[in-house]
Symmetry: C2
Subunit: 151 residues, 2 copies
DNA sequence: TCTTGATGATTCAATGTCGAACCATCCACA
DNA sequence: TGTGGATGGTTCGACATTGAATCATCAAGA
C-alpha cells in the first residue's frame, strides 16, 4: 500500500542508490559466473586461481584478504583446488606457520584458458558504459568501499 | 610476481571497475548489517520485513523478485519471521496458490524501530559522496544492473 | 632457555542459499 | 466436464561461508 514512512528526499536517494549498487554488483557477478561452471570452477575458486596466477605464490591469509573471504573458507577452497592438482601448498621455509600456495602446470594451463574468456565477458558487460563512465563508477565505488573513512 | 598476462588498458580498467563495484557493495552491505543483529534479524529477514512494510501484503514470489533471492529461500525466511510472529501467511482468496504475506502488529512495531536506524546509518555511510555523486552512481549502476540489454 | 602472547592454518558446528523434484491450484481448451 | 500445461509454494539434498576453538609456530623478553 506504500503507506509506510519512506523518508526524506535525501533518504530516498540514498536507499535508491544503495539498492542499485547491490543489483549492479549482483548482476555483473552472476553474468561472469555463468561461464566458469563449464570449467568446474565456482567464483571463489576462480578468484583464488586468478590471484595466485596474477601475483605469484601467496599465503592463505593474503589470499583471504585479496578475495574477501574468511581464512577458514580459504582452507576449504585451496583443499578443493589442490585435490584437482591446480594448486600446491608448500610450507614456507622462513616461517613454518605460513603455507605458500602456488600454481601447478595444470593450474596455469586452466587459468590461461579461463581468464581470457572471463575478461572478454567482463569487457562486454561493462561496455554498456563509456570508458569515462567506467572510470567515474570506479572512482565513486572506491570512495564508498574504503574501510577507513576520513573523519 | 605479476608476470601473468593482465590485459589491455581497456581490460584492466574493466576489471578494476568491477572489483571496486563489488567491494563497495560488500562494504556498504556489511556496515548496514551490523546494526540489524541487535534485533535478531539477518539481512534477508530485514529485507523481507521492509518490503512488506513498504509495499503492503505481497506473495512470496514477489518478495523473491524484490529481494533477489530464490523462492525456496523465501519460504525459509518467512517461516522464521512467522515463527516470531512478525509476519503472517494467509492463503489468497482469489487464487489459492498464492500466499499473502503481511505484517503483524509486532512486525510493524519492530520495523518501525529498525528501519529509521538503518536509514540513518545508510545516509551516514553514503554521505561521503555528494548528492550529485550519489545520483550519478545510481545512474551508472542502474545501467549495469539491467537484466535486458539493448542489443 | 623458558614462557608468553601473537599469528597462520585447520577443524567443527551452525547458518544461509540454491536448484530440482514435488504438490496444489488455476486456466485454456477440447 | 475433464485434461494438460503453467505457476506458486514447499521439501530436500548439496554446497558455500562463517566464527570460535584449537594446533603449530614464531618472536620477544625474563
Amino acid at each position: 500500500m506504500g503507506t509506510h514512512y519512506r523518508g526524506t528526499p535525501e533518504e530516498i536517494r540514498v536507499l535508491d542508490t544503495f539498492i542499485k549498487l547491490v543489483r549492479a554488483a549482483n548482476s555483473m557477478g552472476e553474468r561472469s559466473l555463468r561461464h566458469l561452471s563449464e570449467f568446474g570452477l565456482n567464483e571463489s575458486q576462480f578468484a583464488v586461481l586468478e590471484a595466485v596466477a596474477a601475483l605469484g605464490p601467496l599465503c592463505q591469509k593474503d589470499i583471504a584478504k585479496k578475495i574477501l573471504k574468511s581464512k577458514a573458507n580459504i582452507t576449504v577452497i585451496v583443499d578443493a583446488l589442490e585435490a584437482r592438482k591446480l594448486l600446491k601448498r608448500e610450507r614456507s621455509q622462513e616461517d613454518r606457520r605460513y603455507m605458500d600456495v602456488h600454481l601447478t602446470v595444470e593450474g596455469r594451463q586452466l587459468i590461461d584458458q579461463v581468464f581470457p574468456l572471463h575478461l572478454r565477458n567482463m569487457v562486454e558487460e561493462m561496455s554498456i558504459l563509456t570508458p569515462e563512465e567506467q572510470q567515474e563508477l570506479g572512482r565513486l565505488c572506491r570512495i564508498l568501499g574504503r574501510k577507513e573513512r576520513p573523519s
